[in-house]
Amino acid sequence: MGRTRRNYKHAAPNGALKRMKLLRELLFPLIAVICAFIVGGIVVLLIGDSPFETYRLLIGSAFSWPDGIGYTLFYATPLIFTGLAVAVAFRCGLLNIGAEGQLYIAAFATAWVGIKLGGVIIKNPVTGQIVNSPIAHLPGVILLPLCCLVAVGVGAIWGAIPGLLKAKFGSHEVINTIMLNFIAVALVSYFTQYHYKIPGDAILQSAPISSGAHIARLGKIIPGLPQRIPLNLAFVFAIIACILVYIFLWKTKWGYEIRATGQNPSAAEYGGISIRKQIILAMAISGGLAGMVGINEVLGYRYRYYDGFSDNYGFTGIAVALLGRNHPAGVFVAALLFAVLQRGGVPVDAFTQHVSKDIVQILQALVILFVAAEAMFRGPLKKFGFMRSAKV
């Protein structure tokens, strides 16, 4: 038993097999994306626009400097976090449909700390009556790390709930995460509306957080990148998160145990791993990663909690993780792809006759469908001899 647990680094498969495996890992996502674009192109054609022109707008606008690249990386940031979140849970054999709820509740908690501990007084602008008074006025050096910690911590707690429910009662994490999404959205909307909004504000958003809790926009550091582009330090955190998740999953004992649980729970249990603990741990880490979206949104972009800010980040995270083969490097690339599409939605809206930016959602859905049903490509590929020794 002891030996199995210590021997957590995979015995390296021989070179040819490894290359074959890598090829397969890259081939299916690539085919899926191409198929999604073909079907999406047919939809565009049926509507009466040119698919080539639409795709040129959709993809081309992401590569201009500084706006295209700046915004694309900014859009990629939350998708990297949610993609990693889904991937970690997936590695443990769990489907976290709840990243959406986790990131909402975490973002609100982050804003809460930024307001309540940042010394922000919420006043009625007309009567001057104090609606909500702060608990403390912490300096930025303490407040900012605290806000980041809270984003991760609250996301982790919200994520751990379905993990706990699964571990304790065996109830399915998919249903529970869906339900918790709705509960999270209702909860934060209640608190924003009734307690943390500036009275009279027509938009459902909290009061602004203390300026001590702002994180720097990358425009401050990178020459030529204007500060109006909201790309911020959270993007750097996202890259670090990718690296840390890789190290965690493949270079540590805990990561090994999570992956073992995902691949074969009964074998893992036989090997002395507590499956229940892994389920809770994986869901907590997953929730924490999703919660980091709050850092990007609240501390780096809007500087307040804005109700309904998430553009389906949690669900797009599923697409990102699937397309990225649940590997941090893949997640990073897939997040960039979806960010490119999201950025391209704006010019598509403006410069095509009929197609609206909703084509992006269609493409996303198609990518997920084709990745999920990759078995449909297996038959034809086998015919051409691609798959002969690829079954590893």
Binding site: V43, I47, G48, L95, I97, L165, K168, F169, S171, H172, V174, I175, N176, I178, M179, L180, F182, I183, A186, L187, S189, Y190, Q193, Y194, N312, F315, T316, I318, A319, L322, H354, V355, S356, D358, I359, V360, Q361, I362, Q364, A365, L366, I368, L369, A372, A373, E374, A375, M376
Partner: protein, 315 residues
């Protein structure tokens, strides 16, 4: 309180529960055959959009509902193809369908009606009628006839039919067997995958009708994401109803009641402090109830045993 608990609340409950019942019954067929149906939301949207567009052109709500049913079934066929034939992850496929129908109706309505996200208003005489339309003229216009849609009656009938089909017919027995123990069903000569196809396609047809009621019954046009989570509430009701037709309907009525209450309470009910009662807490009820039930705190709710597991035929 008098202002809240009126007879209107009852009718409002029935109206709001109707699309939930239809979608939840759809979910029941799919899940009883062993295929998780997270896509109820997307299927309802597909039905709602199809119903509104077709009714706009055909000027008949019944053509619209039939088209919605077909559209739901067609989309469900795609789900079945992915999940059963290609063994795609059922939850992931469902999520993809949900995302697809956030975008597809918007793109199509942009092309068809030059408005992003919604279809044109449908005149009142082309909407799904209330029950009294089908009554002989001497019947007085009781509120149950003027306030309740013909679709509510249809939903009730489908509940009873489902109950009969599921427990009293060979089809129902086989469907349940396929969801509980596919190996045994297969050994008994039942084609597991064929029944699963049937279950999923039926679920799409019913969810499509449920969506149609939203766009051309309760409302008079399709608007973007008009289901607003009802597909998931239907799923919750299905679990709360323990995957049984009549209990599921009762669960839908309970959730419909919660929904009706929030509407009725707005501006009427006040907290002792004089503020409105926050609707968010009433909105949360179905979701919290589902989690509690699923955890086994109030009676055990047991899913079909083979739910979510693709069937691999032994050779």
């Amino acid at each position: 309180m008098r202002q809240i608990f009126t007879i209107s609340l009852l009718f409002s409950t029935i109206r709001l529960a109707t699309p939930l019942v239809l979608a939840a019954l759809g979910g029941l067929y799919s899940e009883r055959s062993g295929v998780i149906n997270i896509a109820l939301e997307g299927l309802m949207l597909a039905g709602a959009f199809t119903a509104a567009s077709i009714t706009f052109y055909a000027h008949s709500p019944f053509v619209g509902v039939s088209a919605a049913m077909l559209a739901g079934a067609l989309v469900a066929y795609l789900i079945a193809l992915a999940c059963i034939r290609f063994k795609a992850n059922q939850v992931v496929t469902g999520t993809a369908i949900n995302i697809l129908f956030l975008g597809l109706p918007a793109v199509l309505s942009g092309a068809l009606f030059l408005s992003s996200g919604s279809t044109p208003q449908i005149p009142k005489e082309n909407l799904l009628p209330a029950l009294y339309k089908f009554m002989p003229s001497f019947v007085p216009h009781w509120r149950i006839l003027t306030d309740v849609s013909v679709m509510s009656l249809l939903a009730l009938v489908i509940v009873l039919v489902t109950r009969y089909v599921l427990y009293r017919t060979p089809f129902g027995l086989r469907l349940r067997a396929v969801g509980e123990n596919p190996e045994a069903a297969d050994a008994a000569g039942v084609s597991v995958n064929r029944f699963r196809y049937a279950g999923v396609i039926l679920s799409g047809a019913l969810a499509g009708i449920g969506g149609a009621y939203l766009s051309i019954g309760q409302s008079s046009l399709f608007t973007r994401n008009m289901t607003a989570g009802r597909g998931f509430i239907a799923l919750a009701a299905l679990i709360f109803g323990k995957w049984r037709p009549v209990q599921t309907m009762l669960a839908c009525l309970l959730f419909g009641f919660a929904d009706a209450l929030t509407i009725q309470m707005q501006g009427v009910a006040k907290l002792p402090s004089g503020e409105d009662i926050p609707v968010q807490f009433v909105q949360m009820i179905p979701y919290i109830v589902t989690i509690v039930v699923l955890a086994g705190f109030i009676g055990q709710s047991r899913a079909p045993r083979a739910l979510g597991i693709p069937y691999e035929k032994e050779r």
